[in-house]
Amino acid sequence: MQTHAPPGAGSTPDRTGALPAESARRIYRDMLTARLLDTEAIALQRQGVFPAYVSLRGQEAAQVASAAALDRDRDFAFPTYREMAVALTLGVDMVGYLASHRALWHGGRYDPIASRFGSINAVVGGPVPHAVGWALGERLRGETGCAIAYFGDGASSQGDVHEALNFAGVFGSPVVFFCQNNRWALSVPNERQIAGGSIAARAAGYGMPGITVDGNDAAAVHNATRSALDRARSGGGPTLIEALTYRLAPHSTSDDTTRYRDRGEEHAWQERDPLPRLGTALEEAGHADTAFFEQIEDGARAAVERIRDGIATAPPPAGSDLFTYVYREPTEELARQQRLWREEVEP
């Protein structure tokens, strides 16, 4: 795959210097926190607290640096099931976010509207058209918010993503299509997924810019996303960004990568881990020193601990929640079924 040629080789490791120090530091902090929380989540799965978990390890730069470009007062992010670090960056209540992995509530137990981060969505490709609709809604109201739709390389095969790209182009919706091409869609590599080999190359066919960025380069991701948002916000329409990255962990805690990919490939990407890469760049640019790293790490650990404690004490959903949220305006029939549930099932 040409798309996944080692990005390290030709790229300048300190393009991070292009980021203002404060942004770079904040991004590093969120990436580190995401990494620690991800690691904790895997541990929680091993301990049986989470029935399953989908790790984003290796994709922290793609997620945090793109999300950090969003305006939390105006913009709105539409995630899949793997955007934990986006949620974290946007300040979503992470206990509520992880409630989904704890299997307490599909979609998580945070308020997606208030958080400006859609409910966790497990239909590959499904939420992408929502971003287009949301963004069109901003434009129709004369407002300036932008939507960002996260999706994977596998999702790019779904008809819904195509329909969304086309609608966005036709309507000029202020939306950024952000594809994390992590090379694998579960067990299927890019070669058997993406005709032509590049998702960004699809953009031209919709008359929109298609940008390929090194998804493990936080600065490149951040800048590309910021430009795309600026463009959208100023009426320039949608952009498709393909961030080339890698899923370092299995697809989920139930997956077994040895069935379909080489350890060698994993190791090679391990060496392009975005986290130490940004750390080094920060150091080299003089934006961070040992004290900074220590402080950041302490803060991240404390944050993760708080979240872990929150998870430990998160109450199970009430049985009546089965019925509560089906409708905004409840029906008599469902009330009857709830009475039956109360009589025959409620523990």
Binding site: D111, P129, D160
Partner: protein, 348 residues
């Protein structure tokens, strides 16, 4: 708006009474909704300049502009997906899917997204979307242009489903659907688009509470009777009324219950009627197996088993695809088949 003003008058509470076709009544309801609520949007394939293939959206783009009434690219999944996103941003979308058979490409967005977003988000994101779906057969249309998807939608938690049978109901039920904060599939019986009757245009507010009208989920006795209840919706209501007229000539007095809401179903209304008549025949166009008639039959049987003098009969389309032209009348429930079912239930 284009409806004839002949027959115009004043109803009980000062509301205008206008004779118009169902297609005009739906147009008028959309007009009302667009006028009274700036959050409403009408979109779909060919709904703008053309005014829809059935002219149901005729004149709306001219009246409300391209931002409120607009054509989309030809992609049903995209249309419903767009509606979901707009709803999440505070809009009240009224998408049209051009024909029943072309709702299938949108099923994933309807079932997995629109119907569940409120639940998934624990009530944070409401989905006040009304999907208008020209439905059912009876016009000998090309393939996919006449189908009955109510059983599919009625099975989906989170949806509400309604099918009006005449212009007045078409008007009120559409406004009721649009104003509901839940997603509604509004099934328009194409075969009745040109049916012309009086409509009570109660101005800005035609909602249940305002008009003393029926709440969401209420059925309607289209004709009272004593010997058996015919249950139907959409175009089949009129067929059943015709059956009732014919049966009356033989001294058989049939009640016709227009179910209207296919989700939620008015179980109380069904039970009340059938506990009086002790016999029921449910009629629908869709294929028999796993059609909504099975649900209606089961609900009746569960509720009034001891009152039933005969098993509930089902007269439905056969378990075959909606056929072309000359075969369609043989596929759809005929008056004879309904009469024979009535006879079976009376003689049971």
């Amino acid at each position: 708006m284009t409806e004839a003003l002949v027959g115009e008058g004043r109803g009980a509470n000062g509301a205008a009474l206008v004779e118009m076709t169902m297609q005009q009544a739906i147009n008028r309801a959309l007009d009302t909704a667009l006028r009274e609520d700036p959050a409403t949007l009408v979109f779909g394939e060919d709904v703008g300049r053309l005014g829809g293939v059935f002219r149901v959206t005729d004149g709306l783009q001219a009246a409300y502009g391209q931002n409120r009434v607009f054509d989309t690219p030809l992609a049903e999944s995209g249309i419903v997906g767009l509606a979901v996103g707009l709803a999440m941003n505070g809009w009240r979308p009224i998408p049209e899917l051009q024909f029943d058979g072309f709702a299938y490409p949108a099923v994933d967005q309807i079932v997995n997204q629109m119907a569940r977003m409120h639940y998934r988000s624990r009530g944070a994101a409401s989905m006040p979307i009304t999907v208008r779906l020209p439905s059912f057969g009876g016009i000998q249309a090309p393939e996919h242009h006449g189908e009955s998807l109510e059983a599919l939608f009625a099975h989906v938690p989170g949806l509400k489903v309604v099918a009006p049978s005449d212009p007045n109901d078409a008007y009120r039920l559409l406004l009721q659907s649009i104003r509901s904060d839940d997603p509604v599939i509004y099934m328009e019986p194409k075969a009745r688009y040109w049916d012309r009757r009086q409509v009570v245009l109660d101005g800005a507010r035609a909602q249940a509470a305002d008009t003393g009208g029926d709440p969401i989920g209420a059925s309607r006795i289209a004709r009272p009777g004593r010997h058996a209840t015919l249950v139907a919706w959409g175009a089949m209501v009129h067929r059943c009324l015709r059956v009732a007229e014919l049966a009356a000539e033989d001294g058989v007095d049939l009640e016709v219950l227009d179910l209207r809401w296919l989700k939620p179903i008015d179980t109380d209304g069904l039970a009340a009627s059938v506990s009086r008549t002790r016999r029921a025949v449910v009629v629908h166009e869709a294929p028999l197996t796993a059609g909504l008639g099975a649900e209606v039959s089961s609900l009746i049987t569960e509720r009034v088993f001891c009152d039933l003098a005969a098993p509930v009969q089902r007269v439905t389309g056969f378990d075959v695809p909606y056929p072309a032209g000359p075969l369609e009348p043989q596929y759809l429930p005929t008056i004879d088949r309904i009469l024979l079912a009535v006879q079976r239930t009376l003689e049971f």
